[in-house]
């Protein structure tokens, strides 16, 4: 699998995971969307998402690296860098 294919797979897994955890239809989420708005979550729920992602991908994501990250695609890039 190429780097690009892996990155797309990571992105797709994030979207699927977020949709399932926050009970939002998967088809309503798009990669460049603001996930705070799309998932209707606050800062505490964002931590839940972070933990879900860390557990799923078996990575550590220091939360200061995610300061200012608001869209799924950038989030995927951050995770990808730690896989």
């Amino acid at each position: 699998m190429t780097f690009m294919e892996t990155a797309e797979k990571t992105l797709d897994e994030i979207l699927t995971l977020a949709a399932a955890h926050f009970k939002v239809p998967r088809e309503e989420l798009s990669p460049d969307e603001d996930f705070f708005k799309a998932l209707r979550i606050d800062s505490l729920q964002t931590l839940d998402l972070l933990t879900k992602l860390e557990n799923h991908f078996r990575v550590e994501l220091p939360d200061y690296e995610l300061q200012g990250v608001t869209d799924f695609r950038t989030l995927a890039t951050k995770i990808q860098a730690r896989l």
Partner: protein
């Protein structure tokens, strides 16, 4: 509702059953520790003298979905510092810290096996409450953090001395100096958490552990605990002094103001 064996307050409740004291936290939004919680914790600490006669284990847990505890009530802390004069605010903070230290020292040194059953947010003062317990059992969605340095402070409820007592200094520095949060798996890897369980299973696992603890001679258990878990009193006192010194700085007040007044989904944190 209140009797020797049970009490229901606004921030926390407790009951004793089969030798196990269960202390439940339930102050919305996420068990922030302010003056109301402190009063009820003091009431619990006083009641412990009676409660522990018939008990071998104390389990502390949260009834709220958001997590175990989000830490000190920063809104109340900030408002009080604004409405009181500088000297009075400083005295108020010291008084609050000394009182909460007395409660946490009482829990820390209780002749019981104490278990924090945590899930979700276990931050700041909430993390410090868990650290006062002998064992931490976490569900896999639990998250631990000392965010205080991000606001120009250090943890004030005994966090550093207790974390240092339990873990290697390198990890203590990592948590403290970066202000990052870590999940339950990482916390278990470094030796902070004794068991990681499935989502929603921390209390059940804590009860199973309490049943095991109850099989042992209580005096032996409390003697072993006293031997292995000394309370770092000198460092705890020093921590209060440092916190008060830092709290008086205008940069801290500005940071608290930005944090408390933020309405963003991601509140201000450097």
């Amino acid at each position: 509702m209140s009797s020797a064996k049970q009490s229901k307050g606004q921030a926390l409740s407790w009951q004793v059953q089969g030798g196990v004291i269960e202390l439940a936290l339930h102050r919305e939004p996420c068990n922030e520790l302010g003056s109301l919680s402190l009063l009820e914790f003091e009431k619990f600490a006083s009641a412990l003298d009676d409660l522990e006669r018939d008990a071998h284990t104390l389990i502390v847990y949260s009834e709220l979905k958001c997590g175990f505890c989000a830490g000190a009530d920063l809104r109340e802390l900030y408002q009080q510092s604004q409405t009181r004069g500088e000297l009075q605010a400083s005295r108020g903070v010291r008084d609050f810290l000394e009182r909460i230290h007395r409660v946490l020292n009482r829990i820390d040194g209780a002749p019981l096996t104490t278990i924090a059953a945590v899930h979700g947010v276990t931050f700041g003062g909430g993390f410090e409450l868990a650290l006062a317990c002998d064992l931490i059992i976490a569900d896999k969605m639990a998250r631990f953090c000392f965010p205080e340095l991000r606001l120009g402070l250090i943890p004030g409820f005994g966090g550093i001395p207790r974390l240092k007592r339990d873990l290697g200094n390198a990890f203590v520095r990592d948590l403290l100096l970066t202000g990052r949060s870590v999940n339950a798996t990482k916390a278990q890897q470094v030796g902070l958490v004794s068991q990681v369980v499935s989502e929603g299973e921390a209390l059940r696992a804590a009860r199973a552990t309490a049943a095991q603890v109850g099989k042992f001679d209580r005096q032996t258990s409390s003697t072993a605990k006293r031997f292995i878990k000394p309370i770092p009193l000198d460092e705890l006192r020093k921590e209060i002094d440092i916190f008060c010194e830092l709290f008086a700085r205008s940069a801290v007040q500005a940071g608290l103001k930005r944090f408390v007044e933020s309405t963003d989904a991601q509140p201000y944190l450097p």
